[in-house]
């Protein structure tokens, strides 16, 4: 990873914080800023020395105790590169803490992670998620809580970010902490039509899927779980009784 965007003007007296510079790099919009105290608490970094070398120096760079310019020139690129990896891995842990979750909640509300592209999700805000907690395996994906599906980030800048910097547990932890933003799910589906007639195989698959949902609803109700127009439940019409769609009938939406 080149560091062109990171060139600091060493002749200037004005110094910027490493974290602020990192967060300002285009493509790093998904990250929140991790508290210095969290980074300096060695307990929080348990095991990370296996992922990057020179952990103590990297911590000093991230927390501005050491200026990267004071390091031998031939090491600077590697140090900067590893500092970014380390920040990402600390970030994944930090966003599971109460302070980190609150910061990510603000970003979520700002739509910093983008919105679900699915028409029926009506621009529901997304959350970043990793498919692995190990670095270098998969890039970051986006999770929509409304359709419970994973999406690729729109921008190429975001699609190269390591998913491990957000981790596999983040959305689950997020919704445990902020259950009030769990959406009410939509039952709407799409079936392709030709001259107004729904394509048979697609209708059939859709009916089977609807059956799976009805079975789920029954299981939930049997266990005393509210599902009608409540968070985690489904949008329900006041007079709904699973209308059977007439096969090959022109739809009148």
């Amino acid at each position: 990873m080149a560091t062109e965007e990171y060139v600091t003007d060493s002749s200037s007296d004005f110094t910027e914080y490493w974290i602020d510079l990192f967060l300002g790099i285009k493509g790093n919009e998904y990250f929140c800023d991790v508290d210095d105290e969290y980074i300096r608490d060695r307990f929080n970094l348990t095991g990370l020395n296996q992922e990057v070398s020179k952990l103590p120096t990297l911590i000093d760079i991230i927390t501005d105790l050491v200026d990267i310019e004071s390091q031998p020139e031939e090491h600077r690129d590697t140090l900067e590169h590893n500092a970014r990896i380390l920040y990402g891995l600390i970030h994944a842990r930090y966003i599971l803490t109460s302070r980190g979750l609150n910061k990510m909640f603000e970003k979520y509300r700002n739509g910093d992670f983008g919105y679900c592209p699915r028409v029926h999700c009506q621009l529901h805000p997304l959350l970043p998620i990793g498919l692995n907690d190990q670095p270098r395996l998969n890039s970051v994906k986006l999770y929509c809580a409304k359709c419970e599906d994973l999406f690729n980030p729109k921008s190429a800048r975001h699609s190269v970010i390591d998913g491990a910097y957000f981790g596999t547990s983040f959305p689950a932890m997020f919704f445990q902490n902020f259950p009030q933003v769990i959406p009410i799910h939509s039952k709407e589906t799409y079936v392709p039509k030709v001259f107004g007639f729904k394509l048979h195989e697609y209708s059939k698959l859709n009916r089977w899927r609807e059956l799976q949902r009805i079975k789920l609803e029954k299981r939930l109700v049997k266990n005393g779980v509210q599902i009608s127009n409540v968070v985690g439940g489904f949008v329900t019409d006041p007079v709904e009784d699973h209308p059977q769609e007439l096969e090959q009938s022109a739809s009148r939406q």
Partner: protein, 283 residues
């Protein structure tokens, strides 16, 4: 016959297709437009239909600006009794021509030559890829949620997840969906079986992958509000029981099986919650 003899003249259709955000459109063949049969019913939907048609076909059309003495019609609200002496102004005519072209386009792309032209664009991925991770870059197909102009903007259909998406670039957010229509994607998929093959490969590749939110490796229980409630939306029948059940959905949802068969219901539960040891009950 085109009346503009200049060398640097660009046909109207080409100009339209080259406009910013118009890259989902294909050029409609001249013969298609010249066949009156293909235009049946459009004259009542498009103001200044005749002038708009001539514009598209590159005939010289007189506008209000050519006759400054006469009363120009300024806005779209023209009366039904517009006589031949009333001429559209340039802006109005341009809008009518685009509307007419869009409506013809929707018909053209469900004709054989139009479908073929759009299939090539689909193959070249000119409509973009499905944003859904599990669709693995499946190419998208433009679709309208209605065939009425002026209602909804264009959407993109993914034949793999069978869902519709908002185009990722804002340049398409004012393109009328009716200019692609509701029928086009279904017809494309039916006419080019290769598309369903591409989907089948992707579905088989990911069908074993059972994505759901996890906390420190433990799946969230479906009884929890943040537990899996939408799996049904993208599910495919896997087990032989599911396949039987799927076959029973030929004409309707076999609801009676769900409501009466409490015992078999329980069995289904058992299967779904099989991974209890990996399931974390969360309040």
């Amino acid at each position: 016959m085109p009346s503009d003899p200049e060398d640097d003249y660009i046909p109207w259709i080409q100009q339209f297709c080259e406009l910013f955000g118009h890259d989902y459109f294909v050029p409609v063949a001249q013969e298609f437009i010249e066949d009156d049969f293909n235009l049946t019913g459009l004259s009542s939907q498009v103001p200044y239909y005749r002038e708009a048609l001539y514009t598209i076909l590159d005939y010289q059309v007189e506008t209000a600006e050519d006759h400054p003495d006469e009363k120009a019609i300024l806005n779209g609200s023209h009366s039904n009794n517009n006589t031949k002496t009333e001429l559209p102004n340039k802006a109005l005519l341009a809008r009518s021509a685009e509307l007419l072209y869009g409506l013809i386009h929707a018909r053209y792309i469900i004709s054989k030559p139009g479908l073929t032209a759009m299939a090539s664009k689909f193959e070249r991925n000119e409509f973009g890829s499905c944003p859904r991770y599990f669709c693995d870059g499946m190419h998208l197909i433009p679709v309208g949620s209605t065939d009425m102009a002026g209602q909804e903007t264009v959407r993109l259909y993914c034949p793999c997840c069978n869902d519709i998406y908002i185009p990722s670039s804002s340049r398409y957010l004012n393109i009328d969906g009716a200019f692609f229509g509701t029928t086009f994607p279904g017809l494309l998929v039916k006419m080019f079986p290769e598309i369903e093959n591409q989907c089948r490969i992707r579905i088989n590749k990911f069908n074993q992958n059972d994505f759901g939110l996890k906390l420190f490796g433990f799946k969230i229980n479906e009884l929890s509000a943040s537990g899996p409630r939408m799996k049904w939306l993208k599910m495919h029948p896997k087990s032989s029981e599911e396949k039987d059940e799927y076959n029973n959905c030929e004409y309707s949802i076999p609801l009676d099986e769900v409501s009466t068969g409490d015992e078999s219901d329980m069995d289904d539960n058992g299967e779904d919650l099989d991974d209890d040891d990996k399931t974390m009950a969360s309040e």
